[in-house]
């Protein structure tokens, strides 16, 4: 782990764009009318922050962010929001003209995402090793398990407790009504 200060270069356009988008999505979370749209904007923010990590070269962090945050926690939020089906906040958006705009947005996103992945600068494994070893998966995991062994074990137990807790809470949710029908 070279302790030297890595000269952080100028911020490139990509980072700026993604940064701004992330902030916009964050504001979306706070100011959106319906809970669902705020949940979705949360998912968007998490996803965009993952791109910020990719831009910084911390691919492992980026993947973890996508996998856990965007892939699991955001899903959980959307799930719960839909489950609780909050009536008052659902507002319909009339009108057809948005279709073209939406189609354009979808494809634009498609191109951006794939292009981004293909840009060698970001994903060249060869390149990746040279410019920043500190944030590579191997370095992080090695550090994570050696110097932070105790917190690692503690978090393990924490998550176990969380799982047990959730099961207990979920179990108590079963109202007596459906118990009579023998539903699980």
């Amino acid at each position: 782990m070279s302790e030297g200060i890595v000269v952080m270069g100028q911020v490139n356009l990509f980072q700026v764009v993604v940064g701004i988008l992330a902030l916009a999505a964050a504001i979306g979370v706070v100011h959106s009318k319906s809970a669902v749209s705020s949940a979705l904007s949360l998912m968007a923010t998490l996803f965009l922050t993952a791109f910020l990590y990719f831009a910084k070269g911390a691919y492992f962090a980026g993947v973890v962010q996508v996998l856990i945050y965007a892939g699991a926690i955001a899903v959980l939020f959307v799930f719960i929001v839909m489950l609780l089906d909050l009536k008052p906040s659902r507002v319909a958006i009339p009108g057809q003209k948005g279709v073209a705009l939406l189609a354009f947005a979808a494809t634009a996103m498609f191109v951006v995402v794939v292009a981004l992945l293909a840009v060698p600068g970001l994903f060249e494994p060869g390149l990746q090793e040279s410019n920043l070893t500190a944030l590579s998966a191997k370095a992080i995991s090695y550090n994570f398990v050696s110097t932070y062994m105790l917190p690692f074990q503690a978090t393990g137990f924490l998550i176990l407790a969380a799982i047990v807790g959730v099961i207990m809470l979920a179990k108590s949710v079963r109202s007596p009504s459906n118990e009579s029908r023998g539903e699980p």
């Binding site: 492992f60 996508v66 839909m82 060249e124």
Partner: protein, 359 residues
């Protein structure tokens, strides 16, 4: 021809390949299921009915798009896009063929050559859940919402099983980079035998959970016709339904590609190492770069064969097994697959610890 240009060129190539593959598998599904049930499939359109998928596509495009009242417009449109996105993006990680050289400089037939490709693949597939949830929510009817929630919970629980399988695979392969995994399974390499033989139990668990991920038959409760009409895409028609349809099949393609790369040795032809392949082609009279081109084409064909094998199994299973009840479905995921995967993980760790030098 720099690697950058080559990757950019590969992107549309892979996209088109996957999307054209869908009608092929559609045809196989229709004809295959007919053959399984001893009836002749659609053979009116074009010779032997080969143009049937074309007809479906045209129908899809021109069908009238209706929009459920008071459903949130943007989400309704956004869901199908999100459904098609993850599988295609996932394909960028898969090494499709043997690397070939152009005037000495070798090019890998893989869009993204990242060290974390396997993990990234899992991350991307986990985004598929969003499409289902948003579709269910946006179509503003009880059945589709129920279908979406069921599909969501099913996908999450099986994603956990796949995650654990991933961990034990990584322990046995020692790397997360898919191309390295494929070369490891090649004939001349350090390991030299397929993932299937190394981790049979993980193969089984992965196979079952992949079915669940793609909501394919034994696990297609969300679209269970009898209870939930068509699940989360009841309200969709026309192109949007087409996109969903495409997304589902693309996800199947991605799943079988993943299974092929990790378990059946990707583009390796059994018992033939990449250099032997090249020398075999040189034996046929081609030399230098052209030989590597042909060799990598051959390896691509072997990869396609393996993927097709898995696709056929998808179809085959769909028309033989009955549907699971919901609690059996989730129970299988949490109470059977997860413990098995954990035990296997512990076994692999102990084995690899004992074999310290081997991997």
């Amino acid at each position: 021809m720099t690697p950058l240009l080559w990757s950019l060129f590969l992107v549309p190539l892979v996209g088109v390949a996957v999307l054209t593959g869908v009608p092929v598998i559609l045809m196989v599904e229709r004809r295959g299921s007919a053959w399984l049930q001893r009836r002749t499939g659609p053979n009116r359109v074009g010779p032997f009915g080969l143009l049937q998928p074309m007809a479906d596509a045209i129908k899809m495009v021109f069908k009238e798009e209706n929009q459920p009242a008071r459903a949130s417009k943007f989400l309704f449109i956004f869901a199908p896009v999100l459904a098609i996105l993850p599988p295609i993006v996932g394909f960028s990680m898969i090494p499709i063929a043997q690397p070939f050289t152009i005037n000495g400089e070798s090019f890998a037939v893989q869009i993204v050559k990242s060290d974390l490709s396997f993990l990234f693949l899992l991350a991307i597939t986990s985004l598929h859940v969003f499409a289902v949830l948003i579709a269910g929510w946006a179509s503003n009817n009880k059945f589709s919402l129920m279908g979406a929630l069921r599909a969501g919970s099913q996908m999450i629980s099986y994603e956990v099983a796949i995650g654990l399988c991933l961990v034990s695979l990584v322990v046995s392969y020692g790397t997360l980079n898919l191309s390295e995994i494929v070369t490891l399974q090649g004939a001349g390499s350090r390991l030299a035998f397929w993932g299937f033989f190394m981790q049979p139990l993980v193969f089984l668990i992965m196979w079952v959970s992949v079915f669940a991920e793609c909501n394919r038959l034994p696990f297609d409760l969300p679209e269970g016709e009898t209870e939930l009409v068509a699940g989360y895409h009841t309200e969709y028609s026309g192109l949007k339904f087409g996109l969903f349809f495409l997304g589902e099949y693309a996800a199947m393609y991605l799943a079988s590609a993943l299974m092929a790369t990790v378990f059946l040795g990707g583009y390796n032809i059994p018992f033939v190492s990449p250099d032997q392949l090249v020398s075999f082609v040189e034996g046929l009279g081609l030399y230098g770069d052209q030989a590597t081109w042909v060799a990598s084409a051959l390896s691509a064909v072997s990869f396609a064969a393996k993927v097709f094998f898995f696709m056929f199994v998808f179809v085959w299973v769909r028309w033989t097994l009955p549907r699971f009840r919901y609690d059996q479905l989730v129970g299988l995921g949490w109470k059977v697959l997860l413990p098995l995967a954990t035990i296997n993980l512990i076994g692999t760790m102990i084995f690899s610890f004992l074999q310290k030098g081997a991997y």
